[in-house]
């Protein structure tokens, strides 16, 4: 093996790679695009407020004070319904999920010496997941009012603390997964595309007549995709930290996972291109292998939210371990988990690379 042969190929590849615009898109723009789009879609899910539609038939100061208290919880956004409106029709027309009606005697109930009881009419669509949130919040405010009006003493007081030191957002979950996903797509498609194209262009036939060995070529290309994977890691991580103010750490575990993932997916691309000779069929095969991984390996959604049988599928997909390992290493600060995932990825990588080396040769027959 000659180092010079490897350097020659790396030099050529480094010149050619960035002259191809689609390469720049897939390695740099695509992951950032994913983060921006999915970050925007999913980020509001946990912290969003619930809209409660209120028909205030009272309109007096008591009702206003009550609504102010609800608003102060910060969890509920109040939208008013015209007191004259036909409530049933209005709910239907606007597909409302949560409606509260304050009766016309609401303020009267607060008057001194009043014996009236005001009935707050809360109507919830129980099929909407945040229904219980509305019920609990309105219930808590109502209880608070009863307590205050009756002048009662507080026997029990609840102090709420947090048991997790850090609060993780969707982006904390998503961004390491984007690194894994991008390493997979660039390495698998890059390698498969290169081999399919070079075979059609007769470049392998030409290289076979030079002193370069197939192993040297393979090694040079794997080193190249390792470099590209590192660029992806740096760009995505930098973007997450600078633009979204994320807290990510780079440690040996994260680096080793990217190294192993890059080798594993490059080798996979090679094996695909080796066994599927037609360029278009090979590209379709690469898609067929990477697509399920994209969606089933817990990049976009937590594995726990998927049905059990899909979780079992995920457990045999290599990308699952790459993404989980990167999350453990870079965000969750769970090094035991990171190294366990690294071990899985490294073993698969070794197997794939051995197969790729064995099946790669210049001569055909």
């Amino acid at each position: 093996m000659k180092l010079r042969h490897i350097l020659v190929d790396l030099k050529g590849q480094s010149k050619a790679f960035f002259r191809i615009k689609s390469n720049i898109f897939w390695t740099l723009a695509f992951p950032l695009f994913l983060i921006l789009v999915f970050g925007a879609i999913f980020s509001n899910m946990g912290s969003g407020t619930v809209t409660l539609n209120v028909q205030d038939l009272d309109g007096g100061p008591g009702a206003q004070a009550f609504l102010q208290s609800l608003n102060d919880t910060g969890a509920i956004e109040i939208r008013f319904i015209d007191p004259q409106a036909d409530l049933e029709q209005h709910i239907k027309d606007n597909s409302l999920a949560f409606v509260m009606v304050l009766p016309s005697n609401f303020s009267e109930a607060f008057l001194p010496n009043s014996t009236a009881t005001a009935h707050v009419d809360l109507r919830l669509d129980e099929t909407v997941s945040s229904a219980s949130i509305v019920r609990n919040i309105v219930g808590a405010v109502v209880n608070n009012y009863n307590l205050g009006m009756s002048g009662g003493r507080e026997y029990l007081v609840m102090d709420v603390g947090s048991i997790v030191q850090k609060r993780f957002t969707f982006l904390d979950f998503f961004v390491p997964g984007v690194i894994g996903l991008t390493v997979m797509t660039t390495c698998v498609f890059g390698m498969q595309g290169t081999i399919s194209r070079f075979r059609a262009a007769g470049i392998f036939r030409k290289l076979a007549t030079t002193p370069m060995t197939p192993f040297e070529w393979l090694l040079a290309r794997m080193l190249w995709f390792l470099f590209i994977s590192m660029v992806t890691l740096a760009v995505v991580m930098g973007f997450g930290m600078l633009v979204f103010g994320m807290n990510m750490t780079l440690n040996p575990a994260a680096l080793l996972i990217v190294v192993s993932a890059s080798a594993m997916f490059s080798a996979l691309g090679m094996i695909i291109a080796r066994f599927v000779k037609n360029e278009e069929t090979a590209s379709a095969a690469a898609n067929a292998i990477t697509f399920p991984m994209m969606f089933l390996s817990g990049t976009f959604f937590q594995l726990e939210t998927m049905p059990a049988y899909l979780q079992q599928v995920a457990s045999v997909l290599p990308l699952t371990y790459v993404s989980q390992g990167l999350r453990d290493a870079m965000v969750y600060d769970n090094l035991d988990g990171a190294y366990w995932n690294l071990a899985v990825v490294a073993v698969i990588a070794v197997v794939f690379v051995i197969v790729a080396v064995l099946v790669t040769k210049w001569e055909e027959e």
């Binding site: 010149k15 050619a16 262009a201 470049i203």
Partner: protein, 316 residues
Amino acid sequence: MEFFPVPGETMGESVIEVRGLIKDYDKLRAVNGIDLDVKAGEVYSILGPNGAGKTTSVEIMECLRIKTAGEVRILGHDIDKDQREIRKRIGVLPQAFNAFDYLTVRENIDYFGALFDKRLGAEELIEAVQLQDKRDTWFMNLSGGLKQRVGVAISMVNDPELIFLDEPTTGLDPKARREVWEVIRKLKSQNKTVILTTHYMEEAEVLSDRVAIMNDGVFIAMGTPREIIDRHGSGSTCVVKAANEAAREAVRAAGMDGEVKDGDLWVRLENKGSLAKLVNLLASPHASYDELLVKGSTLEDVFLKLTGRKLAEVEQ
């Protein structure tokens, strides 16, 4: 052509010796026992239609394919034992070769050159194939003829003694084809041995010292183009353009071998006196024609005679 000496007699030692070469694919025998001797400094063409076995044969000589049987010695080295040594000393332009699309001419030459211990300078090679003004153009942006010239330059990076050019002009327009011919002539003038495969009869005839015509895995004729035509050709033909019925009748009555094609009368000239005899016959008062044309036999005619097929037809 006939003024050149027969190269086999005057040129150097054998650079290629092939004996009884056979190559089998799954069920197909692609090469069925060929013998070949190529001397140093020759341009040797293997002419034949697609699927004749040309590329398989040269790819075995280039150490790209493994033979089924037979003996092959390249530059004195056994192909089974000294592939490494052979690779260092040969240059190859594979069939349908495209260099790296997104590298320039210069970068492509440098890439392949740097893989060899002994190499020629990129500028020297660019000059050799006349690509000075395309030096910094991406390979993908070159025309077909220029791409093939880059391919030839790349095949010369290690200053080889023996160069294989596998169908270097296939798919090129006539002008681009002639530009590639110029480059091949230049290789010959530098005393390189060149093995050229082609399915263009004219190319083999114009460029080569010797030709082997290949069909269905075997050589059906070998030698200088002149020798082959003399041995297998049907002599000269006189074409009597727009010959009228009286002219045709006169030729037929005289027992000459004539054939009507598109209103023209094609008469085979069997010996020295044939042409004079024909002219006399056409002098009869009722005979009329537009013009007379004397054509020699070509390798195309030889191929037709030996296989009963036209090269061009087999191609499609």
